[in-house]
């Protein structure tokens, strides 16, 4: 029996398209984030509150990933932001080619910030580079404080952690300090924000940070 030695990265095709996306962002001076979380952690709500806060202060665009509907893009479009919906039709994550195709329908002239909202899933999106500047992972207090330990790849691959639904802390079984220390054990360099989309807490700080990051990209 003969053996062919190949040493090929399984996701090399995706990685190559991600590299092209990243190049496109660099050319336009765009800061691009890829927001990931489990379903229902509040990605779209954070996005809505942030867009509300950033209105008029920075030119941005949004790519929404969803398994089945365009509901999220409609929610986002209310803020006068160009929003493209990718419907994955059952696919549990976004891939770089889907983002590339979505980018083709956005006028990137003058855009400084691109927010990509991934499909709600803490496993699959961690493998697929989309070309983003960084991943932002959202964990909500209602999910408990052990999510980082259960999904270490995602927390290790992210640069920012948003702990959402902090207004519900008195009612849920979640210790803020345990959640933080679990996350920082996996990834000590995580930048952490604490938010509530009901009270608006932490949104201004997150928005300000986004604008800072975007202006340093220029």
């Amino acid at each position: 029996m003969s053996v062919i030695t190949i040493e090929r990265k399984v996701l090399e095709k995706n990685d190559e398209i991600a590299r092209q996306n990243r190049q496109l962002f660099a050319t336009h001076g765009i800061f691009a984030i890829n927001i990931v979380s489990s379903p229902g952690a509040g990605k779209t709500s954070i996005l809505e509150r942030t867009l509300e806060h950033l209105r008029g202060s920075i030119r941005l665009a949004v790519i929404e990933g969803d398994v089945q509907t365009d509901l999220d893009a409609r929610r986002v479009a209310r803020f006068g932001v160009p929003a493209v919906q990718i419907v994955t039709r059952g696919g549990c994550h976004l891939e770089a080619n889907l983002v590339r195709d979505a980018l083709a329908s956005i006028d990137l002239t003058g855009v400084r910030l691109l927010i990509i909202e991934n499909v709600g899933n803490l496993v699959c999106p961690s493998n697929y580079d989309l070309g983003e500047s960084m991943k932002v992972v959202v964990a909500s207090t209602t999910e408990g404080d052990d999510k980082p330990l259960k999904y270490p790849t995602m927390f290790r691959n992210s640069s920012v952690l948003i702990i959402n639904k902090i207004d519900l802390l008195p009612y849920v079984n979640c210790s803020m300090s345990t959640l933080r220390s679990n996350a920082l054990q996996i990834n000590p360099s995580l930048k952490v924000f604490e938010t509530s989309c009901t009270t608006g807490a932490g949104i201004e700080e997150f928005g300000r940070w986004l604008v800072e990051q975007a202006s340093s990209k220029r």
């Binding site: 003969s2 053996v3 699959c124 493998n127 270490p152 290790r156």
Partner: protein, 119 residues
């Protein structure tokens, strides 16, 4: 279930080396899957078997070598196995680490049923 999409990617790579019209059949596809790759080996094997049914790859075995998570400390250069995802140097306590193994997701070898010499 991104293992399905990963299995399709593996198939595409294999086809570049051994096309469907090749007279040789494939015995084993070998790959490395890192502990921090986010891929569940059992799911990947299941998906690989499922998508190769009825193709020239039917019956080919997917042989996965699991790669443990290893880090190097940027402070004291100690290299160690990361246990329980505790990213801290057991020698000096620093958390400034680089991952040196455990992210792998690659196809390494294709073994053929062709009567050729085994290595």
């Amino acid at each position: 279930m991104h293992e399905l999409s990963i299995a399709h990617n593996i198939l595409e790579i294999v086809q570049q080396y051994v096309p469907p019209n090749d007279t040789r059949s494939i015995k084993t596809v070998r790959m490395k899957v890192g502990e921090l790759s986010g891929v569940v080996s059992e799911s990947l094997e299941f998906c690989f078997d499922a998508i190769t049914v009825g193709t020239y790859l039917q019956g080919a075995h997917l042989d996965i070598e699991p790669i443990p998570l290893k880090s190097e400390c940027r402070k004291c250069t100690n290299t160690f196995r990361v246990e329980e995802y505790n990213f801290r140097c057991p020698s000096c306590g620093s958390d400034d680490l680089s991952i040196i193994a455990g992210r792998e997701l690659q196809v390494t070898e294709i073994e053929l049923n062709d009567g050729g010499d085994a290595p």
